[in-house]
């Protein structure tokens, strides 16, 4: 078994962080996000790592580049990220939760009760 909590590559963690900030509404549609250098200084990482994150997010159509001006949030990025994260949750997180539930003998009713608080 590969531990599911094993860390993602730094460039993916940076991408996740930016996506969290977009979901939280810190950066809205067509807002400029920090420059590669600003983000590298903030996180104390190599600028090329941030370039890799921004390239990745551009390919995923979450941000876009305006030559000479920097990177901006794509229209509808928030909904797009939420959709990707929901897919991830359904395909990866939930099966792992189910696996643990079966292993520990936890029934669905117990979880529903907990969920309804």
């Amino acid at each position: 078994m590969n531990f599911n909590n094993s860390d993602k590559a730094i460039f993916l963690q940076i991408a996740d962080r930016l996506c969290d900030e977009i979901i939280a509404g810190k950066y809205k549609d067509d807002d400029r996000i920090p420059s590669v250098r600003e983000y590298a200084v903030l996180l104390e990482v190599n600028t090329n790592t941030v370039v890799k994150s921004y390239d990745f997010l551009s390919r995923e159509d979450i941000i876009y580049n305006k030559r000479g001006l920097g990177y901006f949030v794509t229209n509808g990025a928030k909904q797009h990220i939420i959709k990707i994260r929901r897919d991830e949750f359904m395909k990866q997180t939930l099966p792992e939760v189910f696996r643990q539930m079966r292993m520990l003998g936890i029934g669905i009713e117990e979880v529903i009760n907990k969920f309804n608080g």
């Binding site: 078994m1 590969n2 531990f3 094993s6 860390d7 993602k8 590559a9 730094i10 460039f11 993916l12 963690q13 250098r37 590298a40 200084v41 996180l43 104390e44 990482v45 190599n46 600028t47 090329n48 790592t49 890799k52």
Partner: protein
Amino acid sequence: MIQVNKISYNYPRHKYNPTKDSSIFWNFSLTLEENKIYGLLGKNGVGKSTLLYLLAGLNRPSKGKVLIDDDVVTDHLPLTMSKIFIVTEEFELPNMSLQKYVKLYRPFYPDFSDEIFSKCLNDFEIGDISDLGAISMGTKKKVYMSFALATNAKYLLMDEPTNGLDIESKSLFRKVIAQNMTDDRTMIISTHQVHDVENIIDHVLILGNKKMLMDKSIADIAAEYVFEHRADDQMGGVIYSENSLQGTSVIARRTPRRTETPVNLELLYNAVNNGKL
């Protein structure tokens, strides 16, 4: 670009044991490119500092040449010397004010930037200093590194730069490096403190006895290997493993569909020094 072309370098022969091998480099070659921050790792005594001195033209190889942008570094041309700056592990600063020091040394570096200098000092939280000879090692390092970055020297060599820096200053060091790294620059940071530089370097150099054991970009390492914790019955594809608090830390070959993991420099270093990579 820095090109090390088949150099040999010996320490002076041992006084009482002249047959003892005193060669540090033999037929040694290396290329260092722009837009990269190199982390130079290696055991004590393998010659990390000696290599930096050879790159800076402070040591002269007995055979071969070190070329800085096609000029032989040991010719000590003023242009070449203005392109390279070495922050040695230990150094003394003269008994004079910071202002006077800068006035005295900046003419050697035509691209010296007052703006970068004051910004670096400001980031390191250093004010005016009336006697450079009377300040602590940590402060001295911060002043000297600020000066080094302000020279705009294309090639910046740093020997154990985080030694003597407190925890907060190590973080400031990374910020200052990230802030001042540019496309046309090359930085080479030799260190034993792998965690201080883990996320700031692009490229790993691991020096062994008379040869480079690893010369690889972080991107390539992350693409080829995964670094993770595994259970004892899940050791398929493992290249190197060691015990850690979280279980067994392993390096395994990465399969194409696996997402990349962060590179664990300490684990990588141990694997390379044990001949596993």
